[in-house]
Amino acid sequence: MKERVLVANRGEIALRIMEACERLGLDYVAVYTPGDEQSLHVRLPRAKGKPCYRISSYRDANDILAVADEAKCTAIHPGYGFFSEDFRFARRVVKRNNPLIFIGPRWEVIRDLGHKLNVKKLAYDLNIPVIPGTINPVYNELEAEAKAEELFLWQEERGLEPPRILIKAAAGGGGMGIEEVDELDMVRPVFRRIRAYAKRLFGDDGVVIEVCIRDYHHLEVQLLGNQFGELVHFGTRNCTIQSIGRQKRIEIAPGFDPNYTTYPFEAERVLKDIISHSLKLAAHVGYDSVGTWEWLVTRDGRAYLMEVNTRIQVENEISARISRIKGREPNLIEEQIRVAFGERLGYRQEDITFEGTSIEFRLIAEDTKKGFKPLSGVIKRFHFPNYEWLRVRTHVPQDEPYRIPTEFDPNLALGIVWGRDTFEAERRGFKFLEETVIEGQTAKGEPLRTNIDYLKEKLPEILKFL
C-alpha cells in the first residue's frame, strides 16, 4: 500500500512537509481553514491535483482525523505548533480503531518530556545540570519560603548580584503565571498570588521556585532517534535573539563560534557537554524522532537544561545546512518521516560532519518598536533575491496580493543563508535583508511594517556575549 500523509498544518511548514513527501515518493493530503485559502500551502497541492480539505480549525482533532480517514491517509504529520506536542492527539492517532502513523515521537515520550518539571526530575536523576530550584510542585508557604531562602543563599555564595528567584506555576508556560522576586519578604505574597492564579488558570495550584538566570545564551541541540535505538545529533544552534515575548527572531548554527568571537569560557567544551547530556537523556527515554534539547548557557560557561521540544522546529533547516551525512546535506523533515515509517537511519554519528555557518531570519509583519505588536493587512509586493546560498521558506504568494489571517502569528517567511564561516554568513545575511522587499497595507490603509530593519540591527550581535 502506498503511504499517504495528512499534512495537519499550515504555512511554510506544511509546504516543507509536502516537499519532503514528494522527495520520498509519498502521497499527501492538505487541509486548510477558510482564512488560508490564498496560502501557497493550499494553492500548490491543488495545482498538483492533491486533495485539499476545508476544515473548521487546525486545532480540531476530530476534523483532522475525519479527513484522514476519508482521504485514506496512513500517517499524520503535525508540523510544529497545533498538535505537534499534544500527547493525547498522538495517542489517539495510534490507538483509534483505524490507527495511523503519527510522525513524531511515541506519545509516551511526548507526555514525559512535555512536562517541564518531569524533564527536570529526569535530568536531575541522570546528573544532567538543571536550573537550581524545586523539582516537585510546592503547595505550602512555609516550604516555599524555606526553599526561596536556600536559593537566595546559593546565589550569594556565587556572587550573583542581586540574587533573584522565579516563582512560577508548575503547569504554566509561555510566560504566563511567572514572577520575579528579589527579596525574601515578597516570597509569601507572590507565592499565594501565583498559586491562586495557577489554580484558576490551569486547575493545578502547584508552584515551582527557581533561581532567576539572567545574562545567558539560548542554545539548542538537534537530535534524531528511531525505534531501533539509533541516536544521532546534528549539532547545536544559538537562538538568543528573541523578541520581548521570548519569540525567536534570528537563529544561528552552530551554537558558538570561537573563530568569530571570543567567549569567557571554553565554548567547544560547553557545546560538547550539552550534546552529550542531551544524548544521555534521549537514550534514557528511548527518543525516536527529531527533537530539540533547549539549554541556557550563562556567561560563566554553566549550562542548564531548560526543556525538550518533541517536534520538528521552525529553525531545523539551519542545522541541516551545516550538516553533511557522508558529504550530503540532510533534510531533517525527510529524516523524521523516514524514522516514523520504521526505517533505519543508514548512517552513524561518525558519518555526520559539519561545514560552515547558517543563519535563519524570521520575516514577520510586526511593529518591533511597539512591543513587537503583530500586524495584519494585505501584502501587495513580496520579493526576495535568488542565490545558491539562500533559501526562502514562505507560504506567501509572490504573484498576487495576500491577506494575512488574523488568527495566527503573522509569520511571512524564513530566510536561510549559509556561509563557509560566520563572517561570510553574516555578510550574506545583510545582503539578503537588503534585497528583500515586502510591501503592503494595514486595514487602516497605512503601510505595513515588517521587522526587516530590526533584523539588520540585531545581526551584528549574533553569537556574542555583549
Partner: protein
C-alpha cells in the same frame, strides 16, 4: 443625527417591502451528512423559551468520528434550496447545506434600523471582542441606552493575534444605545460593535423604536 426623517421613512419602507433575510446554514465541521430532517418549504423554528432553553428545529444529521450530531435551526423561517446531493456524502467544513428564509422580527428590525441611524463604532480588526468590565457593570446596573461614555472611556477589549487591545471612546460624551456583539464574539473588520447617540438624540431614537413596535407588533 446621522439620518434625516425622509431617509428613515425610506428605510422603514424597505423593511415593509422586503421583511426577509436569508440565512445560509453551513456545516460547522467536516463529516458525513447522514440525513436531512426537513424538506423544502418546511417551517422551522429557532431556539425558543424564556431562556432560549428550547433548541431550534432539527435540520440534518452530521456524523463525524462516530458522533452523530443533529444540526438545528438558529433562526425561524422557511427552508429553501436544500443541497440534496450532499446526502450520505462526506462534506467539508462550512459547506452550504440549505437556506432559511427568515421573516424579520420586530427586535431584528429595530436592531437593523439602529445600525443605520446610530453613531457606529466598528471593529478595527477581525478579532474577538469583550465588553470592558466597567462598562458591562454599568450597563447591567442601568440598562442599555442609559449609560453615558466620556472620551477616553474604555468601551471594549479586542483580542487580536493573542494580544488584548483596548478600544477607547473618542468624540463627545455619548449614550451607549446598543451593544452589537456577544461576549468573546468574533467580529469581522468593519462590522458594528457599538451604537452610540448623543444624549439629546435619545428621545428621538426611542420614539422611532416605539414607531417600529407599533407597526410590527410581536
Amino acid at each position: 443625527m446621522a439620518l434625516d426623517n425622509q431617509k428613515i421613512n425610506q428605510l422603514l419602507q424597505s423593511f415593509r417591502a422586503n421583511p426577509y433575510r436569508i440565512f445560509v446554514v453551513v456545516t460547522p465541521h467536516t463529516g458525513y451528512l447522514r440525513e436531512f430532517l426537513v424538506k423544502e418549504g418546511d417551517e422551522v423554528k429557532g431556539p425558543a423559551g424564556k431562556w432560549l432553553e428550547k433548541p431550534g428545529s432539527p435540520l440534518f444529521v452530521l456524523e463525524r468520528e462516530r458522533n452523530p450530531k443533529t444540526i438545528r435551526a438558529k433562526a425561524s423561517g422557511q427552508v429553501a434550496k436544500i443541497n440534496w446531493e450532499l446526502q450520505g456524502r462526506f462534506v467539508e467544513a462550512f459547506t452550504p447545506v440549505l437556506e432559511i428564509k427568515h421573516t424579520l422580527t420586530q427586535k431584528e428590525i429595530i436592531a437593523e434600523l439602529l445600525r443605520k441611524i446610530l453613531h457606529i463604532v466598528t471593529a478595527p480588526e477581525k478579532a474577538r471582542y469583550f465588553l470592558s468590565p466597567e462598562l458591562a457593570q454599568k450597563i447591567e446596573k442601568a440598562g442599555e441606552g442609559r449609560v453615558v461614555v466620556k472620551p477616553g472611556d474604555e468601551l471594549a477589549i479586542m483580542s487580536f493575534m493573542k494580544r488584548e487591545t483596548p478600544i477607547v471612546h473618542e468624540g463627545p460624551p455619548m449614550v451607549v444605545f446598543r451593544v452589537f456583539f456577544a461576549r468573546g464574539q468574533m467580529v469581522d473588520q468593519g462590522e458594528p460593535l457599538f451604537g452610540l447617540c448623543l444624549e439629546e438624540e435619545r428621545p428621538y431614537v426611542e420614539k422611532l423604536i416605539a414607531r417600529v413596535k407599533e407597526e410590527w407588533p410581536t
